[in-house]
């Protein structure tokens, strides 16, 4: 019991923090800085405990007496928890200047971030569909509110309404799917579903298959796969920078936690059924995302569009699993880690710049950036190279694994399409590098000071490089192998 309590501590710490912050938020005497420190305190506690329990190769359930088999404990969930917490910490640390520069931020902002982290953690542990739905809604509702946080700005409110209405509607699909699966299986527990799937002929499972397809609709919507993508660019653009960073780097990953758990464990015997559907969606997402990203003039919108393309790569991995690839699952996991690092870094830099100026940040605003802030420009270039999959960054190894898994499962053409879109992505990522380095400085902005935000971003950039070329010969640094092994550990704990 005490031992299990240790495993619950990260989530407990975060929910206590969230409630505490919510209660405090009406107190006018507490400054935003204090709120930031309080939330960072709770998140750091959670992070420490997650690192501690990562080594204890635990598999089992959380408080069986209370929750039954609803919450699963395994390395898979812990690694996801680690990413969520790290994502939230990065969001708060990098943006510690941002909310001071805007008047609309209030204490609830921090409470909502912690609530959504809590929701995501529940989601990664969820071993039951209704629990998963509740967790998903906790995270989503917090994010809806965060997106619309800038109440007086029309694009922000529009983004919130768009996201909330579409999101709630697709949330209903999840509920409907759960109901259909319950109709077929007689239970919503993932284990019972797995037993049912294993013991039933495919021809007799129509109800379950339809139900599971509905679940898939929700998942596709949340990761922004084409044709469920119409919200992505507007919402990412309308939301305040810290929220965009949080959504793109952290929230998107959370969806893959439940998607992988369902797809790899429960529907494993029948997941070939969705392969053609997934392949179609992948092709649409890769092409549509590339078009969206290539046609933008604002960097934030470009990154939003390109995040679709990255969803496309992850979907390649998903359909590879369906075709029997052994690498696929670990490839997705590794790509998630790689994408998390590079996306958090690049959006982090954007919001850091956003905290210093009120510019719209089109490509042109980046002209001469390297002259104003050479180190920041260097780090931005590293993140761009990583997103483009340039070798010597972690993003290259991510693509390396995804494409190898596609080849392994025989999806040669899909791998080819992935390579082509990666080539197109070189254009829009390199365009930003070109803007930063090749043009003279025409603005009269002052230089920024070095602070905690800069150090965090620099740390991320170093990890991105080490994750790409770091060798296991130098044991005390994280290397490419460290990340690959943690990805493999996560996947092996699922089975």
């Amino acid at each position: 019991m005490i031992f299990e309590f240790l495993f619950a501590l990260p989530a407990i710490s975060i929910i206590i923090g969230a409630i505490y912050l919510m209660l405090l938020s009406h107190n006018k005497n507490i400054t935003l800085n204090d709120f930031n420190h309080i939330s960072l305190f709770f998140l750091t506690i959670a992070l420490i405990f997650e690192i501690v329990i990562l080594d204890k190769n635990m598999s089992g359930y959380l408080f069986v007496d209370i929750f039954g088999h609803n919450f699963k404990l395994d390395a898979f969930a812990t690694i996801f928890d680690l990413m969520f917490t790290a994502g939230a910490i990065l969001t708060l640390l990098i943006n510690s200047d941002y909310f001071k520069s805007r008047t609309y931020f209030r204490g609830e902002y921090f409470a909502l971030i912690l609530f959504s982290v809590f929701g995501m953690m529940m989601l990664s542990h969820a071993n039951e569909l209704v629990t998963a739905f509740i967790a998903l809604e906790i995270a989503s509702l917090s994010v809806y509110a965060l997106v619309g946080f800038h109440k007086t700005k029309t694009t922000s409110s529009e983004a919130m309404m768009k996201y909330m209405i579409l999101g709630s509607m697709t949330g209903a699909f999840f509920m409907l799917g759960t109901a259909l699966i319950y109709g077929a299986v007689g239970s919503t527990s993932l284990e019972n579903i797995a037993i049912y799937v294993n013991s039933t002929q495919v021809e007799d499972m129509n109800l379950l298959i339809v139900g599971a397809s509905f679940l898939l609709v929700t998942i596709m919507f949340k990761i922004g796969a084409v044709p469920f993508h119409s919200w992505v660019v507007d919402v990412y653009y309308g939301a305040p920078y810290p929220i965009t960073m949080f959504m793109a780097s952290t929230f998107k990953i959370a969806i893959f936690a439940i998607a992988l758990r369902l797809y790899i464990t429960d529907f494993e015997p029948i997941n070939y059924i969705w392969t053609e559907m997934l392949q179609t969606i992948t092709i649409l997402t890769l092409i549509g995302g590339s078009f969206l990203a290539i046609s933008q003039t604002k960097v934030k919108r470009m990154l939003a569009g390109s995040s679709l393309v990255h969803s496309g790569y992850l979907l390649i991995g998903l359909s590879s699993i369906g075709l029997g690839s052994e690498l696929g699952a670990a490839a997705i996991m590794f790509y998630l880690i790689a994408y998390f690092l590079s996306a958090a870094g690049s959006f982090g830099i954007l919001s850091f710049i956003g905290s210093q100026s009120k510019r719209d940040m089109s490509y042109d605003d980046f002209k001469g950036f390297a002259r104003r802030r050479p180190y920041m420009a260097l780090m931005m270039s590293i993140f761009m190279l990583s997103l483009a999959g340039f070798p010597s960054t972690i993003g290259f190894l991510g693509k390396f694994y995804i494409f190898t898994s596609a080849i392994e499962s025989g999806q040669i053409l899909l791998a080819g399409l992935g390579i082509i879109t990666a080539f197109i992505s070189v254009y829009y990522y390199f365009k930003l590098i070109a803007m930063m380095y090749f043009y003279p400085d025409d603005s009269k902005q002052k230089k920024f000071p070095i602070d905690a935000s800069t150090i965090m971003i620099a740390l991320m950039a170093i990890i991105v490089i080490l994750g790409g070329i770091g060798t296991s010969l130098i044991s005390f640094f994280p290397s490419a192998d460290t990340f690959i092994e943690s990805a493999k550990l996560a996947i092996s704990s699922l089975k």
Binding site: P391, L397, F403, I420, Y427, T471, L473, E485
Partner: protein, 491 residues
């Protein structure tokens, strides 16, 4: 001696990183860059002295790198890499001498990164490692054209990056496929060239995989049809970048076909040979015509460089000992000559503020030293007897006649057409009426010093090819006979 190759690769990068961390002032930065180039020159000289021409790959080092993916750090050197390695390390100090007055720090950092990139690509024997260096050497070029170039530099740098990456992406696809097939047959992951070359494919797969590699190399050379990046990039790039692009990077395309093309798909390359030979022949003529019509000196020699690289590619695909020997020899001598001529063009702009042939004229009477060097390098590009270029071209032409009379005639025509455009250009720039608007200055002592080593090397290689051939010949003929044997299998 164990880690000599790794030191040669990473010395410039290491120096650059250390200097960048300590934010070295300009004069220390310059000293560091020159130190790194002289250091590698010294190491490569040591390497050459202990190089044994009778065995193949030597000084090999294998170390685990990304263990989970079977990617190793594997480097080694043989006669082919040694030629390119020598060229790189000889050219770098001369280039630093050329840009001694350069005060923009980024310029120096980029050159050091570039040296590590090209050296690594020449020495790596693991395909992923090769891909890493192959891409890495593009970044400094991208920055140098885009930031320090001239003309429509942003557009042109984007163009060269996109076209080159299109090629390398297709190569990446082939590499991944090869790695996977190796995993499927043996159960372990490996991307080492020596492992992957043992694989057998059916004809259809092999043709596609080869195409992936060839696209990357053919764009880099570039053969005609894949050349649209070339003239704009050469026109916009600053002189040191042009020298590296023409003298080293273009040759790396040939090197790639030689090492990885013939190493992995010797049979399939014969399937592509007619296409490549026709492209090369077309290129010889097309580039020559463009060079004749071109008014911008740098672009003219860009086209001339394309024409001669087509000749080298042609020699490589003719697969007989004359053509191969000629190609290898011409790689080296053309690199030296084009480095020389592009440096001279850089000096031309520096001194006379124009690159247009029509605006120059009458240099000979005002600047005799300049005229000598300019004419010497231009003529050795054209293949003047007595310079190294002549030996290489002659061997390739002999090889071509051995293969077929028609190819031989076409090949010989390039030598003549090169004579035409080079002599016509010389006549219009060096001789004729002096342009009153231009002030003529002769070479300084420093500039002469930096050009003399190239002249000596070109003369020695032209007059005494027997000095170098014993180093190249034994393994070259072994490689060729192995190749002919394995091609003979399917015929």
């Amino acid at each position: 001696m164990q880690n000599i190759l790794s030191t040669i690769i990473f010395l410039p990068l290491g120096v650059a990183v250390v200097l960048a961390i300590f934010r070295a002032p300009l004069h220390i930065l310059k000293a560091g860059a020159i130190f790194s180039s002289l250091g590698t020159l010294l190491l490569v000289s040591l390497l050459t002295l202990s190089f044994n021409p009778d065995i193949g790959m030597q000084f090999s080092v294998t170390a685990p790198w990304i263990v989970n993916a079977g990617i190793t750090y594997k480097v080694g050197v043989d006669y082919l890499s040694l030629v390119l390695l020598l060229l790189i390390t000889i050219l770098m100090p001369l280039l630093y001498l050329y840009m001694l007055k350069e005060h923009r720090k980024g310029y120096w950092y980029n050159m050091m990164l570039l040296q590590t990139g090209v050296t690594g690509a020449v020495l790596s024997l693991d395909l992923v490692l090769f891909y890493l260096f192959w891409e890495t050497m593009l970044l400094p070029i991208f920055v140098m054209i885009g930031k320090y170039g001239s003309g429509n530099k942003e557009y042109n740098s984007m163009k060269i990056v996109l076209m080159t990456i299109l090629g390398s992406m297709s190569m990446l696809f082939s590499i991944l496929y090869l790695g996977y097939v190796y995993f499927e047959t043996t159960g372990v992951w490996s991307f080492a060239l020596s492992d992957l070359s043992t694989l057998e494919f059916n004809a259809q797969t092999s043709i596609w995989l080869t195409a992936g590699f060839l696209l990357a190399f053919v764009i880099k050379i570039p053969l005609v049809g894949f050349h649209t990046w070339m003239a704009p990039a050469y026109g916009s790039a600053p002189t040191p970048a042009v020298v590296i692009m023409s003298a080293i990077m273009a040759k790396l395309g040939i090197y790639g076909i030689w090492r990885f093309g013939y190493g992995l798909f010797d049979n399939t390359l014969t399937y592509y040979a007619p296409t490549i030979i026709i492209l090369a022949l077309l290129g010889l003529i097309y580039y020559a015509i463009r060079a004749i019509k071109e008014d911008n000196l740098r672009k003219m020699f860009a086209y001339s460089s394309g024409s001669h690289l087509s000749l080298i590619a042609l020699g490589l695909f003719l697969t007989n000992i004359y053509a191969w020997g000629g190609s290898l020899y011409f790689i080296a001598t053309h690199a030296l000559a084009s480095a020389g001529i592009f440096m001279m063009i850089g000096l031309t702009y520096h001194k006379f503020k124009t690159l247009k042939i029509s605006e120059l004229g009458g240099i000979a009477s005002a600047a005799p030293l300049f005229t000598f060097f300019f004419a010497f390098f231009a003529l050795s590009i054209a293949g003047l007897p007595g310079t190294g270029g002549f030996v290489g071209e002659l061997l390739i032409i002999i090889g071509a006649f051995k293969e077929s009379f028609i190819i031989g005639i076409f090949t010989a025509l390039t030598m003549l057409s090169a004579m035409v455009y080079i002599f016509w250009m010389l006549q219009r720039t060096l001789f004729g009426e002096p342009n009153d608007g231009v002030e003529y200055k002769d070479l300084t002592r420093k500039e002469t010093l930096m050009l003399i080593p190239l002249v000596i090397l070109l003369l020695v290689s032209g007059i005494m090819p027997s000095l170098f051939m014993p180093y190249l010949e034994p393994q070259l003929s072994i490689d060729l006979s192995t190749l002919l044997l394995s091609i003979g299998d399917i015929k």
